[in-house]
Symmetry: C2
Subunit: 199 residues, 2 copies
Amino acid sequence: MPTPSSLESLIEALRCLPGIGPKSAQRTAYYLMQHDRPGARHLADSLLRALSALRHCKRCNTFTEVDICERCLSNKRDARLLCVVETPIDMNMMEQTHAYTGLYYVLVGRVSPLDGIGPRELQLDQLLARASDGVVQEVILATNFTNEGEVTAHYLAEMLKSRDIRVSRIARGVPVGGELEYVDAGTLAQAVRERRSLT
Amino acid sequence: MPTPSSLESLIEALRCLPGIGPKSAQRTAYYLMQHDRPGARHLADSLLRALSALRHCKRCNTFTEVDICERCLSNKRDARLLCVVETPIDMNMMEQTHAYTGLYYVLVGRVSPLDGIGPRELQLDQLLARASDGVVQEVILATNFTNEGEVTAHYLAEMLKSRDIRVSRIARGVPVGGELEYVDAGTLAQAVRERRSLT
């Protein structure tokens, strides 16, 4: 006896969610249909609304419902600082620190030779134009400290330096609240190498 | 600078999925909007289709797109056996064994005093009518071996026995392929108590 086709198709559609395998897709589909139909309807509506409303900001690439996002248009941000991040989520994380008041540029991805993504795929012309608009005085590279993020940062640094633009990289080291005992050796080695003078 | 409202609402709507907390709801929303818009659209469509097409079979309570499901109408199933399960997923698990050819009854829930669900909430009249229709000769209780499942099985057994209906419970014991070393003491004790004679 087959599963009803609409249920089958829902189970398969749920697989598009990251981290959902066949077993949890099935469990989720049954759960929604049995226990949370209002939630399922709300989810469907929200997906459709987001799909039609959300696009990329023409200046910084983050998600927005207008052409240029509020942050890029705001006069409360320090336009001399441009922070480069890999994803809109990373931008959110930066915002949550309340330690940064400049503007952002969200990369379309990151250099990842293993996935066939070279610098050319990152559409860096827009970033370059932005960084050399005469207003920006410093580009802060805040890509991840993964291999791909580091390669991307390195590439961007070379590209910007050769055009005489000031570039910096966010600091690596022991996390705040971190105990040396539990920090990996690579991080600790870096923290020693990049130690700050206190006197 | 606020997150665009359609994105905010998508993040919140994703929380209806079991096992999705605030952090993974955010990650999922960004992922879908950035990397898998076709998947998101497909998911929305499938949710809406399932919501409008799926209902409960009038005989066995499982999900179906018609009034009475194919399985209940089939003449290839042994109508003398009625297996009671807690959810449509459990029914699927039973089907996958290919060891059972009878019919099913899916409970609306299970007795769970802590959640305020007593036997009255389970709408057992339908099960009772079904079990005493003159065709069913044995009711097999296949509720979970959790506290709630056991209480439910106990309650159903008492109710059916008092009406002179034959009742059985699926076996408890060491799982197939299981090693005694890794089985919990309760299961092992039960396996000893319910040992089968081989001679």
